[in-house]
Amino acid sequence: MSLLQLNQVSKIYGDLRALDKVSLSVEKGEWVAIMGPSGSGKSTMMNIIGAMDKPSEGEVLLDGRDISKENAKTLTNIRRDKIGLIFQQFHLVNYLTAVENVMVAQYYHSIPDEKEALNALERVGLRDRAKHLPSQLSGGEQQRVCIARALINYPEVILADEPTGNLDEANEGIVLDIFRQLHREGSTLIVVTHDPEVAEVAQRTIVLEHGRIAREVVNENFVP
């Protein structure tokens, strides 16, 4: 059974079909990139996979459970328990330190553990920046804090929206290295991007156009 399965999923806003009968499967431990131009439906798919929106039609199975009809409270619990989110704009709480930002995710999930949060920061190479506020961190460092926060609760799926969109080349390389490491450790990664270089490092790339899957590319040169 696939970890994530979209069956004939559509999202309709008035006359606009942002997603049009999309079907997709993602296996546990897989690294999938979702590409497409603006307006292709990437963000809509991201929101539906991330349990932040519900489809108008079709079903979304996450770990075998259909989440397409769940209410807002249940979707919140699913996000908390099963999904790790990484944002293009990092979205760290600006008055909390790096380690506290990681602990916020723990706080909503279970019990905050500073030692564990520090270990997560160590995994992304930021142990020595744990007590710094976001304003004292570079963009790349903020994104790595965001990744540490996404990892801290051992989610079923790590969902990244343009994770390197605001980073320079050096930091993009660091983030992709972290993704490789996460993949080697068995994490399931779904990365929404418009950057072909970011998509190329994934196992498989789904290309969306006008709300439909235009093509699917398996990376023959994928290096685990």
Binding site: S43, M46, N47, G50, M52, D53, K73, T76, N77, R79, R80, D81, L85, F87, Q88, Q89, H91, V93, N94, Y95, L96, T97, E100, M103, V104, A105, Q106, Y107, Y108, H109, I111, P112, D113, E114, L133, R149, D161
Partner: protein, 385 residues
């Protein structure tokens, strides 16, 4: 780490690390609490302040004998035990007799002169109060009639009711010399009297005598004064306690109107304060909509988000209330000093009340925008909108 510890860590971090924003909110709450606390302090202190002002208009309670010659000093002392000592501003027992000075009939009033001045602070005395035997305070009209002034002397003649008449038909009378130490100007009937100490009246008349009236100046509301009078009337049969209606009713009317005015102003200020604090807190919460969306995206329940923002609001409300209590007392003190020329009493109970009201107003002001903000879709945050 326990969840509560992380909760407090987040609340404290928000308050301390966003201090410029929080100071604006704290200032709004503190200003509201200051004005509220100050006005309530004034509201409760107005009766005391105005009571003190009204005492300047003279006695507001009198004691009269139930039957002729029935009221003596012992009866007055017994009556005074029914009024708290700290409430009695002045007590003046009066015994009136008629004497002759230069063959002119004049009424003398034997009294405790210090007590008389305390009971009638509006007396204007040229010279000094008598301080020894043989000294007199004379009314302005008496001074004019007899041509006396401060430092002058006169001889008082008293004819007892059962005076003996000599064989040649001359009535026997008693005389005593007095020196004028002061002239009394009141604009009232007191100007027609000569005021002597009770001891000198006894010496002149040769009789211990009884009291004709006791004038009391008592601090208290009309209800309290009526209660004192009832207690005296029930316990001391020799005398009757009566309120001087023109003073007590005027005082009650003015106080009621003044308190109503302060109450109205306080109510209006409370509403304005709530609006001001609510607006400030709404602005503070609204600018954090993105943070609320992020927390929701991370899996926070609406209840959890409300609790976090309420925690900040409660701390701000408590701090603002505490600050407002202190500043409010200063504000009330300033008003009292300027208007009533006297200091104000610290109302300890107002501190917890002000804090509670501030907390309640802030919590209410936070609750509405936070509840509204929890309706936002976390997806908007993800898109960076």
């Amino acid at each position: 780490m326990k969840r509560q510890k992380m909760y407090f860590r987040m609340v404290v971090a928000s308050l301390i690390r966003r201090r410029s924003r929080m100071l604006v909110a704290l200032l709004a709450i503190a200003i509201g609490a200051t004005i509220l606390s100050g006005l309530v302090t004034i509201y409760y202190d107005v009766p005391r302040q105005m009571g003190a002002q009204f005492r300047g208009y003279g006695a507001n309670m009198i004691l009269l004998p139930q039957e002729e010659n029935s009221m003596d000093m012992a009866a007055m002392e017994a009556a005074l035990t029914h009024i708290p000592a700290e409430s009695v501003s002045g007590a003046a027992p009066y015994r009136y007799e008629t004497i002759r000075v230069n063959e002119q009939p004049i009424i003398i009033a034997g009294t405790d002169l210090q007590g008389a001045v305390a009971a009638s602070p509006y007396w204007m005395i040229t010279g000094e109060l008598p301080s020894a035997s043989g000294q007199a305070l004379i009314g302005k009209e008496v001074a004019s009639l007899l041509g006396l002034s401060v430092g002058a002397s006169f001889t008082a003649s008293y004819t007892p009711a059962q005076a003996e008449t000599s064989e040649n038909g001359v009535t026997q009378y008693q005389t005593m010399p007095f020196e004028v130490t002061g002239v009394l100007d009141t604009g009232g009937s007191e100007e027609q009297y000569i005021f002597l100490s009770s001891q000198d009246v006894e010496a002149l008349t040769g009789e211990e005598g009884t009291l004709d009236v006791v004038q009391l100046s008592v601090n208290g509301s009309q209800q309290e004064l009526e209660a004192y009078a009832d207690a005296i009337n029930g316990a001391v049969p020799q005398l009757a306690a009566r309120l001087v209606k023109r003073v007590t009713q005027s005082e009650t009317t003015v106080l009621t109107k003044l308190q109503s005015l302060v109450f109205l102003v306080t109510a209006v200020v409370l509403v304005l304060t709530m609006v001001c604090v609510a607006t400030t807190m709404m602005a503070v919460v609204t600018e954090r909509r993105k943070e609320i969306g992020l927390r929701k995206a991370l899996g926070a329940s609406n209840q959890s988000i409300i609790m976090e923002f309420m925690g900040e609001g409660l701390v701000l409300g408590a701090l603002g209330g505490l600050l407002g209590s202190v500043l409010g007392f200063g504000f009330a003190q300033l008003v009292s000093t300027r208007v009533f020329n006297s200091s104000i009493r610290f109302q300890g109970l107002l501190v917890p009340i002000t804090i509670l009201v501030s907390v309640a107003v802030t919590a209410l002001a936070c609750l509405l925008p936070v509840r509204s903000a929890t309706d936002i879709e976390p997806a908007l945050v993800l898109k960076g909108e």
